[in-house]
Amino acid sequence: MMLRDGSTQLLCLTASSGVPLFTRGASKQLPFSVIGSLNGVHMFGGGQGALLSSCETEGGGKVVWKVFHDSVMLIAVSGGGSSGACIGEEERRLQRLLENVWSCMVLVLGQDELVNLRNIERLKRDLRSCFCLIDKLLEEKHQGVLGDLTHCADSLVPPNPTPLQEAVDGFAQAADSEFGCLFVHGRIVVATEKWWRLAPQEVVLLCALVRTLSASGSASCDYPVFLPQGSPTVAHRLLRFQLLPGADVCVLCGPTPSLQKAETELVGRFWSPLIETLRSCLAVGERCLPGSVPLRPDVLALLLINRETRRSVSCVQLSSHHPLSDSSLSKSRCWELLKLFYIFSISRYFTQEETLSGSPEESTQSSHTEDFLHGFSHQPQQCYLVTEECKSYGLQTQQHQFFLLVLPSVPTFALRTVATQTLADIISATAF
């Protein structure tokens, strides 16, 4: 067995010639013969009119292939085992991963360089700059961020949004930009209206990029980005400034202003009066919801998606003070369960808004994989799952999708009430 349980390997090759561009993944690199065969079977099938899309082995191992723009082939191989979910789920996750990786590559390098493979050696070198971003996507244990799965921007609801909104709007305007956004703990707190008009996938990727940039520790940076949907061929500048540790503001802008000018003139002007407000945002922390929103103590984790604005709020609440909880559930396990339950529900019952990703053939392909969902003659509305560790409840309304994990001590018949009540509480308190 070459792949460790639960690890995922990502292979990238040129679609036409099969030259490996890079491989990423936590475990040891697969031998080249395997990479070659994996690429070969797909290529051969394509020539025969049988497009291989996925493959599954015992124990939840999974291989997913995807070719982007007839130029780059991405293959994800997961070893099953510990992260192995049910049949459909893992496939869903890997497909999302491949889409995200492709978008990442476009974001950093631009579509032109990837589609017209003129100089493969140069491309190999250039691709190194995406590695940190790709590694973030591959990294399983990064907690609290579900955007790459949901394609909805992870948000943080501040206690007092109005001054922050005004500041972001003003700051962006002063920086000659319509796209401005404030991040706290890698989640979007407020953003300009135009920012929200970006494709959801782009927003999610920009979030991921800002997270990696801020993790580097620099106080500010100027980073060229291509927008995979909005402008895949023309680069913009992403200016990022650290306001406080954990709080970043960024704008997407053209040639002006220079980073230095913006940093010295604009940041202080707009943000120094709001330091206290920002601190209160930081205090919200991973809960993402202000303290004014009451959460029942038996709620373990929740994920709330606004289907219209494509924003999501998620949190894990592990309070030690309720007596019934045996401390068997770690925080990371809670995040994992929440993710798995989300994928479970999405791949079987609820519709996921398709992002208008890339080429039309991609969207038709993804619609083919949702065959199970189409088998229902009636519309699924809610679902729940009782497992040994927790009870999960998911519901979908016109505007929201809501996923809730509660302690096993909550009686099953009360789940629905708890879920609807919690949802109503959050919505009324935050108008999310």
Partner: protein
């Protein structure tokens, strides 16, 4: 004749030998049915169908079925054209009279017994199905056959006197194999022309027909009649009066026709050239010919024809464009062999779409070999996109060979692919011992073709196999789910009937066959009966087999569609015999200290009418070892038949049981979708009367999710007796059922169950405690029971009656019955219980069938979640040690809430009314492992565990 039952009268196929036998039979009255004694001198009809390896698959429909089918054909033909070619009804009358004259004097014994005797010793072979009727008819009367006489006038009316003769060609499909066993005397008059083609030609007949003499010339093969159900009549182009000129361009005459036909070696399509009388009237051909072809529908269902081994080509053609394939590939490459495509050990079917899949077999081989090293597990599935079709490919690796099954994703979702592949592998293993022995023997190929033809037909176009022209909305996931359960559909019987059935089965299994037993002759017995199970109309009603053996047997039956066959059509006779390899016995058995005797096992399935008994026999062990490939033993077959005949007396009781709604009553989904008009009317009325407003409130309230506990709320709470399930299960429905179908006006106390069910949504209001309203509520279209009656009726109800009303079982809590559907699976016994087909059919409605489809589809998902969480459970695909990851962890319960709206909602002003319902699955490990799937209306919160226990206690499992 008066003493003879009507069913007997219609029997006109008795050969003389059989009649002699009847006389002998009238005396035999012993209960153990020593009727088999004549089987020594009279061969059973299936004897000739036994194949060289001893296997037998003999299926014969009952006369009822055949005649019904014929009547249908005849009727359609009579209607569609004025060329009346065949009038079964008239002919029947005449032959019946003839038969009476013949037999009348001999017939003295009890009719029932004779009927039994005939079934026992029916002397009809499958091949005679075509020629038999006319043959006996011909013998009975010296004059020309009755049917032909009858058709003459029609012919004359239809065809104008001035006829132009015209040539035409007709293609018919002939299968000489089906009459291979046919005895010569039967064909002596018509010869092959009659037996094979189904064309009646009477050379001596010319003289009698003066009026038609001018048309016919001597030495020509004029069609004088057509034999029902024959290739000639099926093709719909051969008319009486036509002259057969050539067969496959070979000129034929009465002299050489027999020789020409005898040259046809095997099943093939031949071209007939006919001279026909073209009607002068131009309107006649235009309306007759195309319509006729359409209406000359196959008289027996496609399924039966498929089982008979007929025209699989046509069915296979219909799905030729859908990619599907089965391949058995070798992973060992032998470079010395020069054979082409040597790695393909077996492949089916050969179509364009499948050849594409065959072309990429390299992918399957490579993936299978490579991925094992990468992820550490065998490959189980992969998905391919072929053009617009998504195809899921399932793998099964055994030793150095790989079985690959490709199926279209729209039929088999990925979730159930593994179960489907696992089941087909297990079936093959049961039938052949191992995959290698199944696929690697070259002479197995035609049988495997047939096997996989059935397999794909059932999965891809199951509606084609059923009868009835309009394909109903296919409940594909329903059959996927129910067939995929490691269990057999069980029908609970009232205890006394159950006991009787068990006694009869036990008697049989004791192998005490009286003078027929080997003990009697001092021989070592041939077989030990390991156990048997009994099906009635596709329901298992008794099982004396261990679970794994039962599942093996059931998989075989499922695969060959024997269960639906027995429920839809009365099987005249079904005898199946083959060696089987029960999986548990083959793998060594569960107990370590105990080793199974090394014997060979044989499966004997005998079906009569709606009953079917499967017997597992063991040779070797303590019986004498089997040598070679023994065929079915007459003694055992006859004993099973005798058992079934004995059970036939219980048929009425079974029917009664099926007619009675089962213990947990069901509601129809459509009742919960109120028509707005009703609602409006209630609203307006409610304002005028306080009592009615309460009622209306309850009705309005309940669909929208309020708990409609209205007038009798408290009382019903107290008196809804969930514990008395078994009582009411046995007696309550029984007496209700007796009066149910016939008499709508019931006595006040026999609570009309159907009334309660159909009107039963409001049973909280006490409507049906009285018989009068029961009749009223029987109207199935009724959306709501009329609430206006309730106000007055409730006053007349005494407390006791109200009490009684609740003495019927309701699975759901609360005042209303909100249960739509359920499936309970008992893993230990390998059985599951679901509402009977009839019960579901009674709850007609537009939404309800959809709901059931949806329920099954959801169950697929729920069960997949259960499966994934329990790694090494004794399921059918258990051979693979599922090293499932932690994932979500063990799932105990899973539910989904659905919302449905009526289709074609036209009212623009109001939003469509909606109804929400739950589908919940629950897995219990204690006290016995069970899986429970239930579908109920949203208005009452249920605790599924409670429901499961209620149900399993109530059903007395």
């Amino acid at each position: 004749m008066a003493s003879v039952s009507p069913g007997l009268c219609s029997e006109n196929t008795l050969s003389t030998a059989q009649k002699a036998k009847e006389d002998g039979d009238t005396e035999s009255t012993s209960s153990s049915f020593s009727s088999s004694d004549y089987n020594y001198d009279l061969e059973p009809e299936w004897l000739d169908d036994i194949q060289k390896n001893g296997e037998l698959f003999y299926l014969e429909l009952s006369e009822g079925e055949e005649e019904a089918a014929l009547a249908r054909v005849a009727a359609s033909q009579c209607l569609s054209t004025n060329h009346v070619r065949f009038s079964e009804k008239e002919a029947e009358v005449i032959t019946e009279q003839a038969g009476t004259q013949r037999r009348g004097s001999r017939r003295k014994g009890e009719p029932a017994l004779k009927k039994l005797a005939r079934i026992l010793g029916r002397k009809r072979r499958p091949s005679q199905r075509k020629g038999g009727k006319d043959g006996s008819r011909g013998k009975a009367t010296p004059s020309p056959p009755a049917s032909i006489l009858k058709t003459q006038p029609g012919q004359q009316q239809g065809v104008a006197v001035q006829q132009r003769r015209r040539l035409k060609e007709a293609c018919v499909y002939l299968n000489p194999k089906r009459l291979a066993s046919s005895p010569t005397p039967l064909c002596e008059r018509g010869g092959l022309l009659e037996a094979l083609l189904g064309v009646v030609h009477r050379p001596a007949w010319t003289g009698g027909q003066t009026d038609r003499g001018a048309v016919r010339q001597d030495g020509r093969l004029t069609v004088h009649g057509l034999i029902p159900n024959s290739p000639a009549i099926k093709c719909g182009q051969i008319l009486i009066g036509d002259v057969l000129l050539a067969v496959d361009d070979v000129d034929v005459s009465p002299e050489n026709i027999e020789r020409v036909l005898s040259c046809i070696p095997g099943p093939t399509q031949v071209k007939l050239t006919l001279e026909t009388a073209a009607p002068v009237d131009s309107a006649a051909p235009s309306d007759s010919s195309p319509a006729q072809k359409m209406k000359a529908s196959p008289p027996v269902s496609q399924l039966v024809r498929l089982l008979w081994g007929e025209d699989t080509a046509e069915l296979q053609m219909a799905i030729g464009h859908i990619p599907h394939i089965v391949m058995y590939l070798s992973l060992k490459l032998d470079s010395s062999s020069l054979q082409e495509e040597e790695e393909i050990l077996y492949q089916y079917p050969v179509s364009e779409a499948s050849s594409q899949l065959k072309g990429v077999r390299g992918i399957f081989l490579t993936l299978c070999d490579m991925l094992e090293n990468v992820t550490g597990g065998h490959i189980i599935s992969s998905s391919l996109l072929l053009g617009k079709h998504l195809v899921h490919v399932g793998y099964w690796k055994e030793h150095n060979n790989l079985l690959v099954v490709g199926l279209p994703a729209e039929r088999v979702p990925l979730l159930s692919l593994q179960t489907v592949v696992g089941d087909v592998v297990r079936t093959l293993k049961v039938m052949y011992g191992s995959l290698t022995s199944a696929f690697c023997k070259p002479d197995h190929a035609p049988r495997l073709d047939h096997f996989f033809c059935l397999f794909f037909q059932q999965l891809i176009q199951p509606w084609r196999l059923r009868e009835g022209a309009p394909p109903p909305p296919p409940d594909v996931s329903g059959s996927l789910f129910l067939d995929g359960l490691p269990a057999v559909r069980w029908l609970t019987l009232p205890p006394e009937i159950k006991m009787e059935v068990d006694t009869v089965l036990s008697d049989f299994e004791s192998s005490d066959f009286g003078e027929m037993s080997e003990d009697f002759f001092g021989l070592r017995r041939l077989y030990v009966i390991l156990g048997s199970c009994l099906f009635y109309k596709s329901y298992l009603i008794a099982n004396h087999l261990p679970k794994e053996d039962l599942l093996d047997v059931c998989l075989y039956c499922q695969h060959f569609c024997l269960l639906p066959l027995a429920s839809e059509q009365r099987v005249g006779q079904l005898v199946i015999w083959r060696e089987v390899f029960p999986q548990q016995r083959a793998s060594g058995g569960p107990a370590p200290g105990f080793s199974q005797p090394q014997g060979r096992h044989f499966l004997l399935i005998v079906g009569l009418r709606h009953f079917m008994q499967c017997v597992l026999l063991e040779a070797g062990g303590c019986a004498s070892p089997a040598l070679g490939s023994p065929g079915p033993d007459c003694v055992y077959v006859d004993q099973v038949k005798a058992t079934l005949l004995q059970l036939n007396t219980l048929e009425a009781a079974m029917e009664e049981r099926l007619n009675v709604p089962s213990t947990p009553c069901l509601s129809c989904a459509d009742w919960f979708l109120p028509a707005t008009t009703t609602r409006d009317r209630l609203d307006s009325l409610a304002s005028s009367s306080p009592v009615l407003s309460k009622l209306a409130g309850a009705i309005r309230g309940s669909p929208s999710g309020h708990r409609g506990r209205s007038l009798f709320g408290e009382k019903s709470r107290r008196s809804s007796p969930q514990r008395s399930l078994s009582d009411s299960g046995s007696e309550g429905p029984m007496d209700a059922g007796s009066g149910l179908p016939a008499a709508p006006g019931l006595s006040p106390h026999s609570t009309s169950d159907s009334g309660r069910r159909i009107g039963g949504r409001r049973d909280s209001l006490g409507s049906d405690g009285s018989g009068g309203s029961g009749g009223l509520f029987k109207m199935p279209r009724m959306k709501h029971p009329n609430p206006f009656y309730l106000g007055t009726l409730k006053k007349t109800l005494t407390d006791r009656e109200t009490e009684e009303m609740y003495n019927t079982t309701k699975l759901t809590s609360g005042t209303e019955n909100t249960l739509f559907h359920y499936v309970l699976m008992e893993t230990v016994q390998g059985i599951f219980i679901a509402p009977t087909h009839r019960e579901v059919a009674q709850l007609s409605g537009s939404i309800h069938p959809q709901l059931i489809c949806n329920f099954h589809h959801c169950c697929l998902s729920i069960r997949a979640a259960f499966q994934q969480s329990l790694p090494a459970r004794g399921c059918r695909a258990a051979d693979r040690s599922q090293r499932s990851g932690w994932g979500l962890g063990p799932v105990k319960e899973h539910g989904v809430l659905f919302q449905c709206k009526p289709e074609n909602w036209t009212d623009q002003k109001k939003p469509a009314p909606t109804m929400t319902y739950w589908v919940i699955g629950r897995m219990l490990l204690e006290p016995v492992p069970q899986e429970f799937y239930v579908c109920f209306h949203d208005s009452v919160p249920e605790v599924p565990v409670e429901m499961a226990f209620r149900l399993s206690f109530g059903l007395g499992l």
